[in-house]
Amino acid sequence: MNFQLTEERQMLQDSLRRYLADTVSPEMLAEATESEAGHSETLWSGLAEMGVIGALFSEHDGGFGGAGFDLAVVFEETGRAGAFEPLVASGVLAGGLIAARGSEAQKARVEDIIGGAILGFAHSEPGARYDLDHVETKATKDGAGWRLDGRKTVVEHAGAAEAFVVSARTGGETRDAEGISLFLVPADAPGLTTRDYPLNGGGRAGEVTLEGVSLPGDALIGAEGDAFPAIEEAAARATCAICAEALGLMESIRALTVDYLKQRKQFGQPIGKFQALQHRMADVLIEIEQARSAVINLAGHLAADRVTRERHVSATKNLIGRAGRLVVEEAIQLHGGIGMTEEYALGHLAKRLTMVDHRFGDTDHHLERFIRLSAA
C-alpha cells in the first residue's frame, strides 16, 4: 500500500503544473474557444514538446506511461489550469483505440498523435445519450472498401481533427454490443461534413455527418464487428481522465474560494470568519478529498477485469458528479455576486466542472449502471 507518486510521475506533475501556471491565462482560454482551432495551438504544441501526450501511451505503444495514474497526474493538472486541449479526444480515445486495435500501418498514427497531430473520436450519436452501444451509423461493404452513412454528435475537437476514428455498425441492431466496427476516416473525406460550434466550459465540438463516405478496405481498425469491448475500455480511460480533470478543477475552485473568504469583508470582518460559511467550506473540502480518493480508486483499477473496472468507472463518475455539483454551487454562493460574472476566473472553472457531468455519463446514469454491475 503506497499513495506516493513515483519519481517520474512526480516530476511530470511538477513540470506540467509549472508550465501551465506560467502559460495559461483566462484571456488565452477565452481566445482559444473563439479561435478556428477551438483550442490553444501554443499550449498544444507546448504539451507535445513536454511529452505530455506521450505520457498517455504505454512504452509498447511508443509512449512512456499509459497507466491509470499517468492519466490521473496529467489531467489533474490540465484541470487545475482550466485547459481544454484535445488530450482526451486525440490521445486517450482516438489514439488509444488505434494503439489497441490498429494494424502496424495504422499504428504509425500514434506516433503522429504523440507529436501533436489531432484526431477525433466520432462515436456518440443523436439519441444515444450516454449509451456506448447505441450505434446506428452503417458501414456497408463496397467492393474491396466500405461505405459509411450516419450522424455523430458532440464530437469534441471535430473542427481541429485531421482524421476521425468513427464507429459504425457492420452487423446487429442499434443497441447491440456485437456488430460495431471502427474506421479511420480522413476529415476531408468526400461526404463527411462538420458543423462546428463552441462548448459550455470552453473548447469546441462538432456534429459530423457521413453521407456515402467511401473508404478503402484498410480503413477498418481491427477485426470487423467486435470493437465494443475496446470502445468501453477507451471510455473507461477517458472517464478516469476527466474525473482527474474534475479533481484539478475542484482544487482550483477551492483555492479561489478560500482566498475570497479571507479577502472579502462585510459587516466589518472577512466573511470567512462567519461560521455559517466556514462549515459549508469544510463540507466542500471533505467532498474534494472523497473525489481524490475516487480518482485513485478508478486509476488503480483501470487494468482490472472488466466488471471490477467498470464498477469503479461508475462509482467514481457518480461521486465526481455529486461532488462537482456541490463544489460549483457552493463556490458560486460563497462568492456572492462576483461568482456570477463572466469576467471572474471562477466562472470558466465552474462551467467546465459542471460539464464533466455531461461527458461519458452523468451521476444518475452511473448510479444505475453501478447497481446493474453490482448485481451481476
Binding site: M1, V258, G272, Q278, H279, A282, D283, L285, A294, I371
Partner: protein, 398 residues
C-alpha cells in the same frame, strides 16, 4: 501508487484470519453478528483471548507489552476482527489511558496500571464530559483541592460509557481557576470504590443504559494518582483525544453494517420482489456504497501517511465527519428496510439465551436500536460541528 497490501502485510492478514478462525468463540461472534447484548464477562473473555496471544495492546509499543504494530497492521487487524464479528476492544484503558500513561505517567504509574489494563484487573472509564462541559471540554467544573497527600474531589461527570462496569475512572478536574480555562485542569486517576463515588445509569433512546452519571462527593484521592504535573491536564487530554481518533472513520463497522443491510434487503419483500430490487432502495444503497468506497481509500491514505511517520492532523476531522455520516446513513436505510417490524420493542429478545421470541424477523429490533444508538456518532468525540471548526481553522485557515 499501489492500492494493494505488500506480501508481508498479506501474510500478517492471513495470520490474523487464522487466529480469529481458531480462537474467536462462535458464541461471541454469533452475538455480535445478530446484535445481541454483550455482557461485561463477554468483553473480558475476548480481552483475555487477545491478551494471551499478545494482541490486546493493539496500539501499544512492544516495550509496554503491546503489539508494536504499525498503522497498516493495526488497520488490517481492525478490518479482520470487525469482519469476523469479534467484540470490539473496550477502548478506555487500552486506547485512551494507556497511551497517556506511557507518555506522561510516572514509572510507578506505568508499572502498576499498564499490566493491570492488559490483564483486565482494572476496567477504566472516562471522566471527561460534565453537564456544563460537552463540546466545550475546557469548561469542566469538577474541583480537586489538595489537602496534605490527598486531593478532595467534588463534582459530576456524565456520559460515562460502561461506567457501570468500571472500578477506575480517569478524570479531568479543576485544580486552579487562574488564567485561561485550559490552564487550570489536571488529570487524576480515581478508584471508583472510594467513598463518595456514585454511578447512576442514563437510559438512552435505544432503551439501553450504556452511559452513566458519575457523582463525586468529597472523594479522597491519593496525590500520587495525579498524572504528570498539576494544571497540565489539558495537554494530556488532547493527546488522549488524538488516540481516541485512531480508526475514527469506522470503515470496518460501516462495511459490516452494509453487508448486513444487503442481506436484510435480500430477505425483505416489497411488492412481491426482494427489497434490494426496488429501484429507489437500490439507488440509496448504491450511493452509500460508493461513498464508502471512496472513504475507505481516504482512510488508507491517512493510514499510509501515519505508517510513514506523519502525525494525523485535521484529516482525522474529515474522516470523523464522513465516517459517521456514512454509518448513520446505513443505519437509517437498515431501519427502513425492516419495515413495520421496526415498531415492536421486545427488549428481552436481545438477551442471550432469552426464551422470549422476537416479533417478526430477528434482525429487525437490533437494526432499529442500532439506528437510535448510532445517532451518538456525530455527537461524541467532538461533535461534527466542532470537527468542521477544526477543519476551518487548521486546514482552511479561515
Amino acid at each position: 501508487m499501489d492500492l494493494t497490501y505488500t506480501d508481508d502485510q498479506k501474510a500478517f492478514r492471513d495470520e490474523v484470519r487464522t487466529f480469529l478462525n481458531d480462537k474467536l468463540p462462535s458464541r461471541l461472534s454469533g452475538k455480535v453478528a445478530s446484535g445481541k447484548r454483550l455482557t461485561k464477562a463477554d468483553y473480558e473473555e475476548w480481552h483475555a483471548i487477545l491478551n494471551e496471544r499478545g494482541w490486546l495492546g493493539v496500539t501499544w509499543p512492544a516495550e509496554f507489552g503491546g503489539t508494536g504494530w504499525d498503522a497498516v497492521q493495526r488497520h488490517i487487524f481492525e478490518e479482520e476482527t470487525t469482519r469476523a464479528h469479534a467484540p470490539r476492544i473496550v477502548p478506555f484503558g487500552l486506547n485512551m489511558l494507556g497511551p497517556v500513561l506511557m507518555k506522561y505517567g510516572s514509572k510507578a504509574q506505568q508499572d502498576h496500571y499498564l499490566p493491570r489494563i492488559l490483564n483486565s484487573d482494572d476496567w477504566w472509564c472516562q471522566g471527561y464530559s460534565e453537564p456544563g462541559a460537552g463540546s466545550d471540554l475546557a469548561a469542566v467544573k469538577t474541583t480537586a483541592v489538595r489537602e496534605g497527600d490527598h486531593y478532595i474531589v467534588n463534582g459530576q461527570k456524565t456520559w460515562t460509557t460502561l461506567g457501570q462496569y468500571a472500578n477506575m475512572i480517569f478524570c479531568l478536574v479543576r485544580t486552579s481557576k487562574e488564567g485561561k480555562p485550559q490552564e487550570g485542569i489536571s488529570f487524576l486517576l480515581i478508584d471508583m470504590d472510594s467513598p463518595g463515588v456514585e454511578v447512576r445509569p442514563i437510559v438512552l433512546i435505544d432503551g439501553e443504559a450504556e452511559v452513566n452519571e458519575v457523582w463525586l462527593q468529597d472523594v479522597k484521592v491519593p496525590a500520587e494518582n495525579l498524572v504528570g504535573e498539576e494544571n497540565r491536564g489539558w495537554t494530556y487530554a488532547k493527546y488522549l483525544l488524538t488516540h481516541e481518533r485512531t480508526n475514527i472513520a469506522g470503515v470496518g463497522f460501516a462495511t459490516t453494517a452494509l453487508e448486513n443491510l444487503r442481506r436484510i434487503a435480500g430477505l425483505e419483500q416489497s411488492s412481491g420482489k426482494p427489497l434490494i430490487e426496488n429501484p429507489f432502495f437500490a439507488a440509496k444503497l448504491a450511493q452509500v456504497e460508493i461513498d464508502l468506497m471512496a472513504m475507505a481509500t481516504t482512510n488508507l491514505r491517512t493510514i499510509a501517511a501515519a505508517a510513514a511517520g506523519q502525525a494525523p492532523g485535521a484529516e482525522s476531522s474529515m474522516l470523523k465527519i464522513k465516517g459517521t455520516v456514512i454509518r448513520q446513513e446505513i443505519n437509517a436505510l437498515t431501519r427502513r428496510a425492516v419495515g413495520p417490524y421496526a415498531l415492536p420493542f421486545v427488549s428481552e429478545a436481545l438477551d442471550e439465551g432469552s426464551n422470549v421470541d422476537p416479533v417478526g424477523p430477528d434482525y429487525a429490533l437490533p437494526a432499529t436500536q442500532a439506528y437510535f444508538n448510532n445517532r451518538k456518532l456525530s455527537i461524541y468525540g467532538g461533535s461534527n460541528e466542532v470537527q468542521r471548526q477544526i477543519i476551518s481553522k487548521a486546514i482552511l485557515e479561515l
